[in-house]
Symmetry: C2
């Protein structure tokens, strides 16, 4: 039996126990995990040095090496993250609905763990701990498949966490790490129907595309975001400028940052120059429609390909539109249903935009950067779902649960 | 462009309008659809005769031809089904959550249509109307792909329904029928990410397996059910006998019927003979474990393959177990997480069974046949989900909705 299938089977066995742990048992296990990470930090940092050294040999960029690197401060932060998960309320075991039928049957709908979650992610080793903590807190078993660049770090981290679990009521087999660095191990995970209940990819666009294209296990798709800010005719200049600037520049590399600014033509005639100056001063390259180019000579021509690109970088498309309809059409054509914003003082336009734009999060007069589990007050974030099934937008702990019906009878049969 | 892609694109365009129809506009459209079916029934029956004639030429069994056949009574029932959907409350546009953040942002979570639903189903033409009614009522556009055996009927029905929609506020393009009878048209639907938001298969096991194996569009899996009834030591004989008999015999062809009866050894020693007699009198063939065979000589030997088979027929596996643990292990090994029942007077055993069995519906002292949207009081049933994501168990109208977050700001940006 392959490593993947064997570990998934162990996780599935463990999930039967996980399902009936109390909140306190789960929290105790998470606290032991946090303590162990700090206690064993030297061996983790040692393992991480191996990853860093190998990455440097392979010519990995310094910025990627920095994302990969662990030190005492970072491990303390990671352990602190686990302790924060302990504080969150347990979404499992809630009675979500309850009703009696005319035949006397009592029906209860209860929240339960999903079962076994497959997590497929890239290099940052903090995701290993974060994903483990979120899945175990919600009573799920988890099969982790991290990027090969962090394999030594992940292996040592999971050893430490499993050692900690062996002193808890939680079965250590509920936490599995796939060590096979071959891409085939991912492909095998994606087809493990019956052992995995869901696969959640966390990472770049190509990782997610591969998972969506090849999984037969249900997937929660996360990540891609081509987000727009539409500045309407009646927008206040300062507010519009601040929101647009924040949405692009505060952290361009993330999915809820803006890629395209849509501007009403009369607002553009009066104010686009001053807004563009602010972007240019922040070294943001502007790709513009022809009308934008006539107002902002520094812009280069934007193509449809540009409008369909998630830059994740200091590049911004600007398109001038005649009215809100044109803005809505552009978003419908190029948006990825992630986060979309209108800046306007016109309440009717705001209501129309929020009603008709089909996206996980639609904003009136606020930056799209707020699409985030922590910003929404969930206390955690598994990811931001960009699909419409199961969960949409920022996912907190309840996104890692399913439901079951319990039916209490006194001998009822169907007539 | 292929028929499939072209019609899905039209449906997607229409879904933007569907999304903002009022409940009354949707109900008016459904009423017009119901009226039109009755008014045009002769042409529908005519088209149905073509399907029946072709089926008879192809050697289709009389029981399948009966499922395919339409007459005035059946069309009246189908139209009545649409009128019942009108009466159901609209799950779209509800504020599911609402909270204010410390920075002043107001966040609302609203129920919205899924968007465009692909329905892939087999021969019964009533599914065409039922699926259309459920999807349109929930503000979704729908692309129907019925079985080729019902193509003439489906084509005429959809013509009639679209004609009715042309007199309503609902865009007729929200209702699409794929007429291409080639299997390739199904495969194409399964990969239409970006046009279809979800695919729902309704039909036999091989249809569903194909959809799950090949879809890249998210799927709601329905259907397969290997359901068990466990009769515990303390069960009351009459109740146990009635529940087991009902679960197997009342309608063996459906997914919530019982395939395997698990019986505690001391109950079996006293009562299995009388229960088995009742099944045998109803022409149910018994496949039994070795201990069952020694008590019930009429039984033939049950294999693991039998335990893993959804008979949908007058065949029953009986296995004698030493205790509840053995029953739980059997269900964990062979169950399909659909519907499972314990018959017992022991409250502790009942609680343990309902807690630890991982299934969409778990019963204490009632027949598994109640796993059904109508029996649960939902007033409709899209199907019974056997997966854990999005919806589990009988699905009513809310299963055809997603959510979006609306965020109201006053210029907030992220720090």
């Amino acid at each position: 039996m392959s490593e993947v299938r064997q570990k998934a089977a162990l996780a599935k066995q463990a999930s039967a126990v996980m399902n009936s742990l109390t909140t306190e048992q789960k929290n105790d296990a998470l606290r032991l995990m946090a303590d162990a990470l700090v206690k064993e930090q030297q061996s983790i940092i040692q393992a991480n040095h191996n990853d860093i050294a190998r990455g440097r040999e392979n010519g990995t960029s310094e910025s990627l090496l920095d994302r990969l690197a662990l030190n005492e401060n970072r491990i303390a932060d990671i352990a602190q993250g686990l302790r924060q998960i302990v504080e969150l309320s347990d979404p499992v075991g809630r009675i979500l609905e309850q009703f009696d039928r005319p035949n006397g049957l009592r029906v209860e709908k209860i929240s339960v763990p999903l079962g076994v979650i497959g997590m497929i992610y890239e290099a940052r080793p903090n995701v290993t701990v974060d994903a483990a903590g979120l899945c175990l807190k919600t009573g799920n078993a988890v099969v982790l498949r991290g990027g090969s660049a962090a394999l030594h770090s992940n292996r040592r981290i999971v050893e430490v966490l499993r050692e900690a679990l062996s002193h808890s009521d939680m079965p250590l087999e509920a936490l599995q790490l796939i060590e096979d660095a071959d891409r085939a191990s991912v492909d095998e995970m994606l087809k493990l129907n019956g052992l995995l209940d869901v696969v959640i990819p966390r990472g770049g666009a190509s990782l997610i595309r591969n998972v969506v294209a090849n999984a037969t296990v249900p997937v929660i798709e996360t990540g891609a975001g081509i987000c727009h800010t539409y500045v309407d005719e009646s927008a206040e200049l300062e507010m519009a400028s601040n929101i647009a600037f924040n949405a692009k520049v505060q952290r361009p590399s993330v999915c809820n940052s803006m890629e395209t600014l849509l501007v009403h033509e009369s607002f553009a005639a009066n104010h686009l120059r001053v807004i563009a100056n602010r972007f240019l001063a922040a070294n943001v390259a502007i790709h513009g429609c022809s009308r934008t180019m006539s107002l902002i000579p520094e812009a280069e021509a934007a193509t449809d390909q540009d409008y369909a690109t998630e830059y994740n970088d200091y590049i911004l498309n600007i398109r001038i539109v005649a009215n809100i309809e044109e803005a809505l059409m552009h978003i419908s054509q190029f948006g990825t249903q992630h986060s979309e914003c209108i800046v306007t003082e016109n309440a009717g336009h705001a209501a129309r935009f929020l009603q008709s734009v089909d996206a996980a999060a639609v904003y009136h007069n606020a930056s799209t950067r707020f699409t985030d589990g922590f910003e929404f007050g969930f206390g955690a974030e598994i990811g931001i779902s960009t699909q419409k099934l199961h969960a949409r937008g920022p996912m907190g702990l309840p996104a890692l649960t399913s439901t079951k019906y319990r039916i209490y009878g006194t001998g009822q049969i169907r007539g």
